[in-house]
Subunit: 647 residues, 2 copies
């Protein structure tokens, strides 16, 4: 007796990733893997490649498609699909879900002549609500985790083969990825894999990131130079590891049983998606269970958060998500279907919307790709002049979405009356694509994390260390955050509710009254300019500042303040200033901020500290441009113009 292995690699690069990363992943992982297995005729396996990567390979390394095509036509490789640009299927509208899967099927059919029957479940995020759409797309089976089945009332040891699930009488087969195999392949040596299979019978699935075979830390050396893959293929050649394809199993073996998984992903996602404090508590609880050897006994009852909680945890993720959903609905309402929907689909690529062991949301270039594609998509479906007073971010309160020929603004009265999006249309660039610094659970955990040794440390075992907790922000960042300084205290209006006084398509008048003072903030929209008018009055003297967070896209962007020119990523203070100019390679032109009176100016660069597969990353996110009025009187009128100058 020996179990049969269902082996698959999932190769993914996010929309917007750097070209050099595509290249490196290709040279270090995808290409050497495929080259190594070409002649190992008994090694039969599955491959899933996501849309942005497929497009990159097609354009840059077409020979890879020939090799893969040969493996497919030799019936050695079975191809799976997902939504073309790798969206979280449960997080995009049903119509987009169907269209992205169909797009992936068409691509695979055209390039490889294959008719995929199976679906790689992006980030293994299962939600029964997607089942009907998958079945409508002709998907017969889905690959997810054994943890999904543990959450469905099965004991981990009994899980094998594949399962059937159902919604409204429509059925779908589920292949669970063995967690043990996920930690064995390729991190432990081949005899451990052989031994795992020898002790079992039936079918076991391992389907994991192709990047684990070459670009995860240490894996290139381990898999290729130190011969892991060669030894593995030898074991296959000698029959110690027997391989099959998913479709063959479907034809020849009935499902093990029926299951109804709850919303779930792999176990680790449960920790990441919880609010920081809870995540740290969860982490400690899991460590405790492991230490007392009760982890697997109690695993069926231990659950973290679900993916959608990232949209609560990170308002930035929610904003991108809700704008994406909103634009998708505009496409539906206006019955626009053409090729511009491709921009929307690109914007649905999952990586920028969340944050686990990879940078994700913390990576400015991934968020930039989302906003850039959203801008292109929106321009395809909306007129250049448009004005909406709607609950775009779905929190039960209405915001303003203002489209002028040169920009799109999203003004949120209930978030301190801030501008939360300022997209320059020509640049397809959101100036306020900024990130708030917050405490993450791994900041808390990093102090106590035990170091583990391993032949090659699995990515989950890389030691992390943090001497002190990073600084966090007291309010949600955006543009036009007001602060008042009284003799005895300081008040920040960044998260306050502003009352809407009046509005039209050319202005929005907001007001915040509190503890004896009143801030009136009016936005005035011109075709190429936004003006902000402040009238601040108080019963006692105050100083005032307004903070405009701008993400120039790179720490090398520059700020011109009077006669000084400095990088956006360094702190600067200027005693008295009537405006600044910002330059960035991402601006096709420049950004002008002009004041009607000279104020003290601070440029405060904001860096975040986030975890990645390599350890901790310090990332430049934005510059807080702060203008401070220090007269300390009881009344202030101030006008600020923000102007986009095209190159």
């Amino acid at each position: 007796m020996s179990a049969v292995l269902l082996f698959g690699i999932h190769c993914h690069q996010p929309v917007g990733n750097f070209d050099f990363v595509f290249e490196k992943a290709y040279e270090k992982a995808y290409e050497p893997f495929i080259r190594a297995v070409m002649d190992a005729v008994d090694f039969r396996f599955s491959v899933h490649i996501t849309g942005a990567l497929l497009e990159w390979i097609k354009e840059n390394r077409a020979e890879f498609f020939d090799a893969l095509g040969r493996l497919v036509s030799d019936n050695r490789v079975e191809l799976q699909v997902s939504g073309f640009y790798e969206p979280i299927l449960a997080a995009i509208p049903s119509r987009d879900r169907i269209e992205q899967i169909e797009m992936a099927k068409e691509f695979v059919k055209k390039e490889f002549g294959a008719q995929p029957r199976g679906l790689w479940l992006t980030e293994r995020i299962w939600d029964t609500k997607i089942l009907k759409d998958l079945v409508a797309c002709g998907i017969e089976y889905v690959i997810l985790d054994d943890y999904h089945l543990v959450c469905s009332g099965l004991e981990k040891e009994e899980i094998k083969g594949y399962y059937i699930t159902e919604d409204e009488g429509k059925t779908l087969f589920l292949f669970p990825i063995s967690e043990e195999l996920r930690y064995l392949i390729p991190f432990r040596d081949v005899p451990e894999v052989v031994s795992f299979l020898e002790k079992r019978e039936g079918f076991y699935t391992i389907y994991d990131d192709g990047e684990k075979f070459g670009i995860w830390p240490g894996t290139y050396s381990w898999v290729y130079k130190r011969g892991w893959l060669k030894r593995f293929l030898k074991a296959v050649d000698e029959g110690a590891v027997k391989c099959a394809l998913f479709s063959e199993v479907l034809e020849n073996t009935p499902p093990t049983s029926r299951v109804y998984p709850p919303i779930a992903s792999y176990f680790e996602m449960g920790e990441w998606s919880l609010p920081a404090e809870l995540a740290a508590r969860f982490h400690a609880f899991v460590e405790e269970l492991k230490a007392s050897s009760r982890f697997y006994e109690l695993l069926p009852f231990v659950r973290g958060g679900i993916w959608h909680n990232f949209l609560v945890k990170y308002p930035e993720a929610n904003r991108m998500h809700k704008r994406m959903v909103w634009i998708s609905r505009k496409f539906e309402e206006k019955k626009v279907s053409g090729s511009e929907r491709r921009f929307l689909f690109k914007a649905q690529c999952n990586d920028a919307y969340w944050h686990g062991v990879f940078g994700g949301l913390y990576l400015p270039h991934l968020r930039r790709a989302v906003y850039s594609n959203l801008s292109r998509a929106e321009d395809a479906v909306l007129d250049s002049h448009a004005f909406f007073h709607e609950d775009v971010d779905c929190d039960g309160k209405r915001e303003f979405l203002v489209r002028k020929p040169s920009y799109t603004l999203w003004i949120c009265p209930h978030w301190g009356g801030q501008i939360k999006e300022f997209t320059v249309k020509d640049w397809h660039y959101n100036l306020v694509d900024v990130l708030t610094r917050r405490l993450e659970h791994y900041h808390i955990i990093a102090h106590q994390k035990e170091r583990q040794k391993a032949e090659v440390a699995s990515i989950h075992e890389i030691p992390r260390d943090l001497k002190e907790l990073p600084e966090v922000d007291s309010c949600d960042r955006g543009a036009f955050i007001e602060r008042l300084f009284f003799e005895d205290k300081r008040l920040c209006l960044g998260d306050e509710e502003f009352v809407v006084e009046d509005f039209s398509s050319s202005f929005v008048r907001l007001r915040c009254e509190k503890e004896g003072f009143e801030v009136k903030k009016s936005y005035i929209f011109e075709d190429e300019r936004v003006s902000v008018l402040y009238t601040v009055s108080s019963s006692r003297p105050f100083m005032f500042e307004t903070e405009i967070n701008i993400n120039p896209g790179t720490p090398d962007a520059s700020i011109i303040a009077g006669e000084k020119r400095f990088k956006a990523s360094i702190f600067k203070e200027v005693r008295s200033l009537k405006g600044v100019i910002m330059h960035s390679p991402f601006f096709k032109g420049e950004l002008l901020i002009k004041l009607d009176k000279p104020l003290r100016f601070f440029a405060v660069p904001i860096f975040t500290l986030s975890q990645s597969e390599k350890g901790f990353d310090e990332i430049f996110q934005e510059t807080a441009l702060i203008f401070k009025w220090e007269d300390s009187a009881s009344f202030l009128e101030l006008k600020i113009d923000v102007e986009v100058v095209h190159a």
Copy 2:
């Protein structure tokens, strides 16, 4: 400071419940409650009444509607709806979900002139997949549990007011029921309720079964005779308890925050829906957490099963469910919409499909109502002759569904080739509506359950005791289970896979080969009769028996075996017999089982032991009619006719 109470009662009686239960619940709970509160003008609250009960009241106690109508028009009562016949919304097809909610809205509008904005979430089973349908029905808010929010990353103590959730940009408000209030009202005395509210501000929801106010054990005396309700209303009158309606809160207060609940119900459901062994382990784990005072600290990470797991735990529930879904699809395919769909909706009433602290699935009269309504619904949509070879029960394998003028058969090759449904059309009665005895987690737990004392024991605190574990069955019960007896062993084919040899609309030929023997079983369908032909051959001598489980609907049904007549609920053995006749008040006629040779006969009544709100119930479920051939040769041919004789 003192929090405002959002108070609601949900009054439900399942479709098919005994008339005397409706009457008792009305006399002891609904009526005295409404009578008592009529003049307490400051007590403003919510009411939800489910369809079968609404219909019963309308027909039998119309004066109740007058009283309720007055409270509604005085703006003292806000009405909520659910699916009309109280289905689990996440467990029925989308089109039925919408239609049942619309049906409830229409009823409430017609009878009370009310336009409900809120939905009572049946069994509080939340699944995001229903959100879009609710919004399409104009539902603005839903009432569920605070546990849903704990599962969404909120700390229990911070939960108050109401929340907003979203799917595909459609938003819905969620009012969480306070677990603490659920255990306080009406079980603890009024000062504890007042003290709960005094310590808090904002809004807190209690919405619970109307039956807790009069028919749950001990509550009639406590609530009315011993004056709990009078004291409570006095506290309202004196302003110690302030009340508001859900709609008012929506108008005047914004949601507390945004949440994305996973699939969830109240915490207890998590235990009930797990497989027995896991449920007992879960129970012990929860007890352990409570004993070490870590329950609330870890509650966000502690999760049992989801409701749909009942469909895995109880094949009987799955069969009803999948037949219901299948018939619903036939309505859709055939575009039949008329009033017959009401039978389908009645069959969707949730109670019979699961089992928690109430009898549910264990109650034959509730299952009977499901099958009766399914039979009526199916007759409305399918021809009297029909034959299907489809995967009706959604396990990935096909069964046979055979409709003849007098009966409907469901033959399942992969369940020992058994008949799993034998509905006599004229009687709208499924003879094989039987239940398999299985170990339940509460059997295991009952030995160790600690007794708790309380002013009035809450239903969760009623002591249960069990001297010894009840008998369980080794295979799934149905009609025509074969057993072979060899000198050294006994083989049951009840759960074996039978191969389909051949079939047409008038016969199905099955075969099971195993360990040197072969059982051929053919079903032959005539208009009023089913014949079963056995050909059994083996390389060594054997004895043989076939077991036909029939549920006659009552322990008082009788069996006529030769000259003997006895109750279906007592054990009987007859040495040699060529057939039996079964009588039951639920049969409009009689059931004849005839053999072509005399065999030894056993009538084995089957009782289950299940928990209910009152303790343990022993319930007569069915009679196993066993015919045993004891010649001990190596070949047998046997023919059995099952005939329905109409009165």
